[in-house]
């Protein structure tokens, strides 16, 4: 645990002293601010909805959520593999898990800093006399941090798999986008494929088509269980802190961190 904190502190120091991280953060904050102003204007001053847009209901929100973590994590393991620092860390008296966990906490903390800017909008608006939906606002912030953590974990996994940071970012981004788009893709596929297959096979009996439709249904439900968007909107956006949703995000994060630790270990014999 102590090793984790030591690593985390050093990573945060690195982020805090790297111009790249600050530039990224300022661009994101600027973008978010401009968009929020636009939402308010477009919605004729509906504060609650503007905040919902800023946290979870807009494409820009999800784009930031997907793009930022890989950019922060891409160098974390890949660069150290290249510079030989992995050898230093893995021969230091800390566990491999502490190395990954420390990096994870550092990147997530930095991103949390960014998402905490949105409740500030709420504060400002409250100061101006509006009454934002605090439950939804804080829930959405927590959700954004948890989702960032999940994408940080996939980012670290990608970073541990290669020694080229850009490739790590690309891999993580591709993975995150695929995951987010999975429900959409299955729906499109199933909508087209199932009806086509049903038409072909139900020439005589209706039986084949029915079982195919059932299989499609089952697949859709399966994809639905890992649908990040749905999980996010179901709980956090309505201001409801549902432990099952929290566990959903945390357990996937844990899985990817575990895989990243394993992958880091294999660096020894690769």
């Amino acid at each position: 645990m102590r090793g984790t904190l030591v690593i985390m502190r050093r990573e945060l120091f690195s982020l805090a002293t790297s111009p790249f991280a600050w530039i990224l953060l300022s661009v994101a904050l600027f973008l978010n601010g401009v968009l929020f102003t636009a939402y308010i204007q477009l919605l004729d001053g509906d504060v609650t909805w503007a905040l919902r847009f800023a946290l979870g209901e807009s494409l820009a929100f999800w784009a930031l959520l997907v793009f930022l973590p890989p950019l922060f994590t891409m160098r974390m393991v890949a660069e150290e593999a290249r510079s030989g620092l992995v050898e230093y860390l893995l021969t230091s008296p800390i566990s491999d898990a502490a190395v990954i966990l420390g990096k994870f906490l550092a990147a997530t903390t930095f991103l949390a800093l960014f998402w905490c800017s949105v409740p500030l909008y709420g504060l400002v608006l409250a100061g101006l006399g509006a009454s934002p939906d605090w439950g939804a606002l804080l829930g959405g912030t927590l959700g954004a941090i948890l989702t960032s953590g999940l994408f940080v974990s996939t980012g670290l996994l990608a970073s541990a798999s290669t020694s080229t940071p850009v490739l790590a970012a690309f891999l993580a981004l591709a993975f995150n986008l695929t995951w987010l788009a999975l429900p959409l893709v299955t729906e499109l596929l199933l909508g087209g494929a199932v009806s086509w297959l049903a038409r072909v096979f139900s020439g005589g009996e209706g039986l084949g088509g029915a079982s195919l439709a059932a299989a499609g249904d089952w697949l859709q439900r399966l994809v639905g269980t890992i649908d990040i968007l749905a999980h996010f909107q179901k709980s956090f956006l309505v201001g409801l802190l549902d432990t099952t949703e929290v566990v959903f995000f945390l357990s996937w994060t844990g899985l990817f961190l575990f895989l990243a630790v394993r992958l880091l270990e294999t660096r020894r014999w690769r």
Binding site: R10, F13, S18, S92, P93
Partner: protein, 385 residues
Amino acid sequence: MIDATDLTKCFGPLVAVNGLSFEIGRGEVVGLLGPNGAGKTTTLRMLTGYLPPSRGAVTIAGLDVLRSSLEVRRRIGYLPESVPLYGELRVGEMLEFHGQLHRMDRSRRRERSAFVLERVGLTERRTQRIDNLSKGLRQRVGLAVALLADPELLILDEPTSGLDPLQRMEVRDLIRELARERTVLVSSHILPEVEAVCDRVLILHRGRLAADGRPADLVRELGGTGHLSLTAELGPDTGQAAELLRKLPGVASLKVVDASQAANAGEEPINHPSLRSFELTGEGELAAVVGELARDRSWVIHQLAWQRATLEELFASIALDMNEALLDGMAPAVAPLAPLAPTAHTEPTAHTEPTTPTEPTAPTEPTTPTAPTTPTDPDAPGADS
């Protein structure tokens, strides 16, 4: 302190380290020698637990390196060849980070880092960013980091590579000083350095242990010989000088060098009719013996230089012998026992190493070319019959 048994590491089809076994006692200063690609770094990485061996095991201070990995890592100060450091940190911050990893408390961190910086001569660079330091200074920061936790065992992989001669000397002195208090294992391919610092050397060649012992003993045992070069005006002895020198005790070989060529090295282009140069090899106090002879025969010595046998020559001879051994191993492939030949032959030929260098001691040169073939030839038919 270190106990390695049958250490073997394969990278795919390549066997980087092959059946390495050795023991290093507490307080020893050992040099790990070998040409590039001999398996030095791989060996050190296995000792520190960074690479798990394909076969064999290592214990350090009685602890298995893989099973009690963290415990072992706490006892080792390891400086990898690439000197990995966080460039964005200042020197002091890097030491602070390392101290925290080693769970040293604040006062001890402060005390040790001041001590260690003083030791490597970086006290004034404490607040400088590591990225802005030169290669030599980085190397010293690496050493400071390795030393910080006051480890029982210090493992340094090529600590002097990329340093200028002066820095190299400093590092050498530093290592010698450090060696008083702890066990040190240094790898290098620069032999004089190892000779100067280590009480014991392990010579690796193609992943195998080719020699193990005190440098001086190894040199003597494996037939290391000294070099003597002599340039003198011989006067009336011009004709028979070579014969006289050859008869001296301890002379192994003699070569007459063209005097005019030898004189080129010096500035005076004297072309004295009786000026001759010789290159001798041999053991013992060759310089004194030759000097005595020169005095007795009243030769005018222009140059008399004696160079003791060095690890370097020994090393070259090991490398060459091993290559020959491999070639020898190939040669009997014509014989019926082909498939077993290569592996079976490398071992015995390694043992005959000490005898081969004694061959040139035969006083007459013409016989030497035939000599090496004779001992091996009778062996082969003898084994057959």
